[in-house]
Symmetry: C2
Subunit: 229 residues, 2 copies
């Protein structure tokens, strides 16, 4: 693929002249997603993906403008996993809450999503459908401006990411780095300044925490109710 065109989505999947490409974008995307699921986003290097496909790194550039494009494909693949077919109840808060939970679930399924730098506007086709769906859910809220609606959806997404992150972090055993920081925190707190923090650090371990699902549901409804109407 040469240079000029803008996004991956503008580039044609194959040229009209030469031999048929051996691979598909969908194929490459699937491999990349699987790799990221298994070993994290950092493992998705051109070389690694190419090796997984049994070819050299340079070949991938026939399908994709670069690593960023590949990540865009991956993101939209995950966006496509989110089910938008369910009927809307007609209550913006309720409908957006459901959408938020689906979003969070997708991110739990693909933890590397949280490592994607959140530059906005990388909207592939599925992400566009997603956005439209969110706006449809917000249609009953006639008093809101378009900007307010977009911000509401953005906040909803941000909350989904936030909770996905804490849920994942708690689920997995901490990194060496995280452990070191935890140790450092307890040590600093032991010095006596930061009494409030001390109270929390002490009570950190016990209790299996409130059920995540329920907690997230309640919180997102509260926030959305505060933003809508």
């Amino acid at each position: 693929m040469p240079d000029e065109p803008g996004t991956v989505w503008d580039r044609p999947e194959r040229g009209a002249r030469g031999p048929a490409p051996v691979r598909t974008r969908a194929q490459i995307t699937a491999v990349a997603v699987a790799l990221a699921d298994a070993e994290g986003l950092a493992a998705v290097s051109m070389r690694r993906v190419a090796a997984e496909l049994g070819t050299g790194p340079a070949s991938l550039y026939r399908y994709v403008g670069g690593r960023d494009d590949l990540v865009d494909l991956m993101i939209d693949a995950v966006a496509g996993e989110i089910d938008l077919s369910g009927p809307l109840a007609g209550d913006p808060v309720e409908d957006l809450a459901v959408l938020a939970m689906h979003t969070k679930d997708a991110q739990l399924r693909h933890p590397w999503m949280l490592d994607v730098p959140p530059e906005p506007e990388r909207l592939g086709p599925c992400a566009i459908d997603y956005l439209e769906h969110g706006l449809r859910a917000l249609e009953p809220a006639e008093s809101m401006t378009g900007q307010a609606k977009m911000e509401t959806i953005a906040v909803m997404n941000g909350l989904a990411s936030l909770f996905a992150r804490t849920e994942l972090q708690e689920r997995s055993s901490p990194t060496e780095r995280q452990a070191a920081y935890a140790a450092h925190l307890t040590q600093v707190v032991a010095e006596g300044r930061h009494p409030l923090l001390a109270g929390l650090v002490a009570r950190q371990v016990p209790g299996p925490h409130e059920d995540h699902q329920a907690l997230f549901e309640r919180l997102i409804r509260r926030v959305l109710a505060g933003l809508i109407g």
Copy 2:
């Protein structure tokens, strides 16, 4: 600096035996922050920072365990810029709203902060003070659990980042990539599916947008009010 110890903050600034270090961590941090302010976080490479200090890359590793540690130092330097000296009003919503605005301002001053991968728990001394301050603001809310308080602060931070991002994005001219995606969006929307999105894209340009400050204030108060008490 050898390997074993945990965080940067645990490592002593200098050893007790050899010659006095030529440079300071604070010095290095300042250079790195200035560089990131001017050219973005990606410009903060070991080589670049070293060059800015007039030395070789390897020298930096006497002061810092690696690039991650350097970023940790940078983050905490910014956290230290946030003014926590103002007296608390006693109203959690009000006090956290003020804190949120200070946080957002700091991120506007250092846009690269939004490019730092948001792994949690990288709390340097200033960040710890910040957290304690937030908890102090939440002290009147006696009905909240510790976990709920932490989540409230996390949400507050997330919103600050969210709005800082949109504000910065709007302020700066779009990247080539962003422009390409914007063009692609209008093109997709022109196909007719996505009527709601079409309505928004059409009205995108006009209007200098509502004053950011006011909008953010109102929104964060709403959200916080929904979460507290």
